[in-house]
Amino acid sequence: MELKFDNLTKEFGNFTAVDHLNLTMTKGVYGLLGVNGAGKTTLMRMLCTLLKPTEGRITCDGKDIFEMDGEYRKVLGYLPQDFGFYPEFTVKDYLLYISTLKGIPPAAARKRVKDMILKVGLSKAANKKMKKLSGGMKRRVGIAQAMLNNPKILVLDEPTAGLDPNERIRFRNLISELSEERLVLLSTHIVSDIEYIANEIWLMKDGKLMHKGRAEELIHSMEENVWECFVEKDLVSSFVKRYKISNMKSEMGGVTLRIISQEKPFENAVQAEPTLEDVFLYYFGEKAGDGNGAV
């Protein structure tokens, strides 16, 4: 299976959310990284036929996905960022309903729902109403519904958002397990999630693809170095203004800074091994003195 974005563009009035994107996806996990407003959700919505492109097209094995209509959506599983549900439905009813929407025959749907409830660890909550579930449980129902039709294409938009660390790790492992033998597009703010499970990472900014590759490739693509240094508290603000700071850790008598910079920022600075978080900051971050400085 091959999914192709061909000059894909989406505009909302004067705002271009996705800007002439050309990409190809085959089997594997693709991690989509970008700041808020980068166009990740818009891209995913177009991929799920929820939004029509203003320009360009998305093809699945050469066929336009909007023309394929139900045939394309038959192989699609989607977990949106804002996962909505029917509050009065029980987990079981909800999944049975989604099975029906996915065109699964009733007998097969019952079995599949039972299996998925077991797989996501919701056996005890199967007859609970959706409105009574915790955030983590709802996310698990979300992934269960996405997997009901055993999709060849799985689109997960911020699947671990709002989960506590335990739930996040559990969920990440579940996604990793489910992603075998299919095409998964995963978007998140949480860099470590992508680092663990994505085969290829796409960095998006202002609707455009800035970089793509494996984690190591992206790390090597950095043209700057990562430094760690211990500075007095009084000096922190001047460093923040001058450099991209990927981490700050307060300690007795000062602060340990992780700085992204071409040159050595401080005499005592020690070069550190770059991580994907540093890459994220390198591409998307701004020095506190620039723009909104929201890093």
């Binding site: 929820l50 939004l51 989607y78 909505g84 009065e88 009813d93 039709n149």
Partner: protein
Amino acid sequence: MVRFELKKVFSRFKNKMAVVILCVLMIVVSLLTMNRVYYTDENGNHTSGMQAAKSLREEKNQWRGYVTDKVLKKVLKEREEIYQTKEVLSEENTKEQDKAYAKTQGISSIVEMINTAFSPWRDYDGFAIDRISPEEAARVYERRISNLKEWLDSGEEYFPEGQKEFLIRQYETLETPFYYEYYEGWSALLQNISTFLLMLALIIGFLVSGIFSDEFVTKADSIFFSTKAGRNRAIVSKIKAGFFIVTGFYVVFVMLYTFIVLFALGMEGAGCPIQWDMWRSVYHVTFFEGYLFIVAGGYVGTLFASALAMIVSAAVHSTAAAVIMPFMVLCAFPFLSRIITLPGMCSFFPDQLLDIYNSLKESVLVEIGGKVMDTAGVILPVYLFASGVLFPVLYLIYKRAEVK
């Protein structure tokens, strides 16, 4: 899939409350309708409701049959005998008058018919019967036609020639003599049914208004539209659910209301002409046929208003906006007509479908392609067709919906 759509609708608290309110309204309207039948006993005491209906039925059914010349003369004679005593004629002695009235209840509708026939057009003289001879009374059916002709000739209201001919033809071809028996159950049912149908239509409109927009309101839209059936079969299921709610609720509640009222007040009289209640009606229908016409009009009105509500729901993704639609369609013009005089074209508006009772009573005529007909007869098929068109439109609107 339809089952889940219905479950979505009826699992919502506000919709459960709407159904409870509808049940309460049905009981209240049924009780009010039942109290429309009055009876005066031999002591002059008045009662209403089920017991009154039972007693009145016994009285009236003694006169069951066709009201021929012979019957009309006999009615006049019977009434004269009852009202000739000094006590009854005394204006102060109301109790005696009530007692006398009690004896005439069996023929009260025939007396009213004679009074109406011998009263000026659009007027009622309750003493007209006292001034006519038995021979004149026997001409009551002819009087109906001659009164119409006199009124048309008077020029009090303008009617084109075609409409005049239509009215006269309808009056002349009405089958006479009228069949008579106790019909008060049907009469009471028809008098209150328009109010009940309006309430029913508004509540049904409320129930269906969230079918399409709630996917957006609950943010379940992303998953819904990304599924295989999300842009085709699932929409058809939503439309089917809406249609089933409209039809199911309408049929069940209309039948319940009808059954309660007729069970309490009696089913006889279904075959009597509606002219017993609506003397000037141009329709050649019995109470039962009139009832079917009213119910059919109400159904088409409810279907049309609900379809519009669903279209708004699908187009603007707002349940609140959709809920307003049935009110706009069914209540705005009747409300406005109480404040200002609305142009004649307003009788083609869908609110008229919920008021077929008044169309049966006083028709608004229209000439289309040289054929004269009542507006009620025009709007019913027109809005039925329009409702049929709205459903494919609804499908297309929802199919093209985007999740932004």
